[in-house]
């Protein structure tokens, strides 16, 4: 049997790299195959594969073969020397003079290892250098065209694999983060329901005693008035808890023919206190000839409360928030706009603004707008945002008039 030709050897290396990628979920195993096989085919003493760590900005060793511990322990190569010239990102660099090449950090150690020639093959994806394969040879020699082609192809394959793995790791991390958040929130929801229920019991005691006492005090006096306040505020607690329980429950919309202006008014009264505390005015312009449409009142109220609070946090003291409602008969829909003259939303942020858990505030969880988006969708409507940073933000909601 004749020994394999060079090209057959190249083919085997490609095949082995791809195979290891298919069979292994571990990037290290694939990289090991890359370094060992490519060194073997090129009759090199050894080879090293480094990948750029974006956080530390250094090229770290991720796979090696044929080199002694002492050399390997020398540490990573700093970035500047390697990425100085972007035009080099896709070219093989042959270093014959290891003593004077700026990118060779430890020429003495290399020489002691028996290394006389180094070949650098960058791993690049588009315009970025993400890593490096460095091949160490015991003898300086010429490289044929096909050898160079071979090593460049290996590098391209390798870069591709690394990029894909990094992408998957990123997704995985994002997903876990999202999952944890969701878990936290759903347990929060369950907890809220339990707490709400627990609060109703002591409230019962308060309400019974105070309503009973009210009948025993002199009518029209200070005591009666005070007890009235206690009773009223307790009943207010009851409503708040009911609202909380409804929120915690799974939101199948319960739609009723209603006037959206009434819902807006309710939302405004809910947030009025907070607006007052920050001296922010709300200008409302709700059309008198509003048409009724099918709405889940508490859900739509939630949407407006969310938008109003967002506006509130966007403006300074003495900022202005406007709410405007109209009927668009031509398109058979009801349109509401909530606008503010606040800090606005940057073009990058606007893309993500309806994504769950996206928040620009440290105290925010980032769910308000994504839940609102979902609610509007459930009403066959749509919600749009327009903004100019430093100037204004406008949220436009359109709901079809359904009967």
């Amino acid at each position: 049997m004749t020994s394999p030709t060079r090209f057959e050897n190249y083919f085997f290396v490609f095949r082995d790299i791809i195979r290891s990628m298919h069979s292994s979920t571990n990037l290290k195993e694939v990289l090991d195959v890359v370094v060992t096989k490519s060194a073997a085919v090129l009759n090199a003493k050894g080879s090293l594969l480094r990948i750029l760590n974006k956080k530390t900005n250094q090229f770290e060793v991720r796979a090696a073969c044929g080199l002694g511990e002492r050399y390997l322990s020398k540490g990573p190569v700093t970035t500047e020397k390697l990425v100085a010239d972007p035009s080099e990102f896709h070219k093989v660099k042959i270093i014959n003079d290891i003593w004077h090449a700026p990118r060779i950090e430890y020429p003495q150690q290399a020489w002691d290892e028996g290394i006389r020639m180094i070949v650098d093959v960058p791993l690049s994806i588009k315009d970025q250098m993400i890593g490096l394969i460095r091949i160490y040879l015991a003898q300086a020699r010429e490289f044929s065209r096909d050898e160079l082609d071979f090593i460049i192809t290996v590098a391209e394959q390798c870069a591709c694999i690394i990029e894909r793995v990094q992408l998957m790791e990123n997704q995985q991390a994002q997903f876990s983060h999202l999952a944890t958040q969701m878990e936290k929130l759903s347990s929060l929801g369950r907890m809220a329901a339990g707490v709400a229920h627990e609060i109703n019991n002591p409230l019962t005691g308060v309400l019974l005693y105070s309503s009973n006492m009210r009948k025993k005090v002199p009518p029209g006096g200070y005591l009666e008035e005070s007890l009235n306040i206690i009773i009223r505020e307790t009943q207010r607690c009851k409503k708040i808890i009911q609202g909380l329980l409804e929120f915690a429950r799974d939101g199948q919309p319960q739609k009723v023919l209603s006037n959206i202006n009434d819902v807006i008014e309710n939302a405004l009264s809910i947030v009025s206190n907070q607006f007052r505390l920050r001296f922010v005015q709300v200008e409302k312009n709700l059309t008198e000839d509003m048409e009724k449409t099918l709405l889940d009142i508490s859900q739509i109220e939630q949407v407006f409360v969310n938008l109003l609070l967002n506006s509130l946090h966007a403006v300074n003291e003495n900022g202005r928030v406007t709410v405007h409602s109209v009927v668009n008969r031509a398109q058979n829909r009801v349109e509401v706009e909530v606008a503010d003259n606040g800090c606005g939303i940057s073009p990058e942020a606007i893309e993500k603004i309806f994504d769950p858990f996206y928040s620009t505030r440290t105290d925010g969880v980032g769910l308000g707008l994504s839940v609102s988006y979902g609610i509007i969708q459930n009403h066959q409507g749509d919600i749009q945002v327009f903004s100019e940073p430093g100037c204004y933000t406008r949220f436009k909601i359109a709901l079809p008039i359904l009967l």
Partner: protein, 229 residues
């Protein structure tokens, strides 16, 4: 939905009569389809007023009621129906469900309270159960011969209602003609009264109800004619 009639007086039970009181057309028609397939006789009413009218014309075993209606509120209709014909079972379907409405409805004697949206299985099950209860209570109520003035008045009212209906409801006429007393299952009448009507006992009617007009007695005459055949 009367499908077959034989000339024998075999014990064929008439299908349960259901009135669907719902103003949403799609839901009403959907229910009509589902319930007809189950073999029920279905009528529709899209307002409370029309529903009450329907109850004057026909005896229903079951009322499927939406609460939110244009005009009279569904709950008012239910109150009226339960007052006039307490044996009619009621199921509430509603997209506007609150705890207090549910409690109020069941206190009125509503059999079940189904918030929308509900599945086909849910409504079929609810209706099946309600009708079972209805059948049980109907079977249990044996009306004794009237003694007091009030009972006699009730009997008179019921007989007139039956005769009046024969004039207006062709299906009922046929039902009564073919099946006799069985067609009167929903009426608050003693078996003696039912037999009298079904057999065309003019004498009994004159004695217990009074002199009636030709129009009112049309059915009786026709029934007697049949006998003569």
């Amino acid at each position: 939905m009367m499908s077959f009639f034989t000339t024998s007086t075999a014990n064929i039970e008439p299908p349960p009569h259901i009135l669907v009181m719902e103003d949403d057309r799609s839901i009403a028609m959907g229910l009509e389809m589902i319930l007809s397939e189950e073999g029920y006789d279905v009528n529709l009413a899209n307002t409370g007023e029309l529903a009450l009218e329907a109850f004057k014309q026909k005896r229903f075993d079951l009322l499927v009621a939406d609460l939110r209606l244009p005009g009279i509120d569904g709950m008012e209709v239910i109150k009226q129906v339960k007052k006039d014909t307490p044996e009619t079972e009621v199921i509430v379907i509603t997209g506007y469900g609150t705890t207090s409405k549910a409690v109020e409805a069941i206190k009125l004697g509503v059999h079940d309270f189904l918030p929308k949206p509900f599945t086909e299985d849910q409504i079929k099950t609810a209706i099946g159960e309600a009708l079972k209860v209805h059948a049980k209570t109907s079977a249990e109520t044996v009306v004794p011969k009237p003694e007091t003035e009030e009972e006699k008045l009730i009997q008179k009212r019921e007989v007139l209602a039956v005769l009046g209906r024969t004039a207006e409801d062709a299906h009922f006429w046929i039902d009564l003609m073919e099946h006799g007393s069985l067609a009167l299952a929903d009426y608050h009448l003693s078996s003696e009264a039912k037999a009298a009507i079904a057999s065309g006992d003019l004498k009994w009617i004159n004695e217990n109800v009074g002199e009636l007009t030709q129009k009112q007695l049309m059915f009786i005459y026709k029934r007697l004619e049949r006998e003569a055949w």
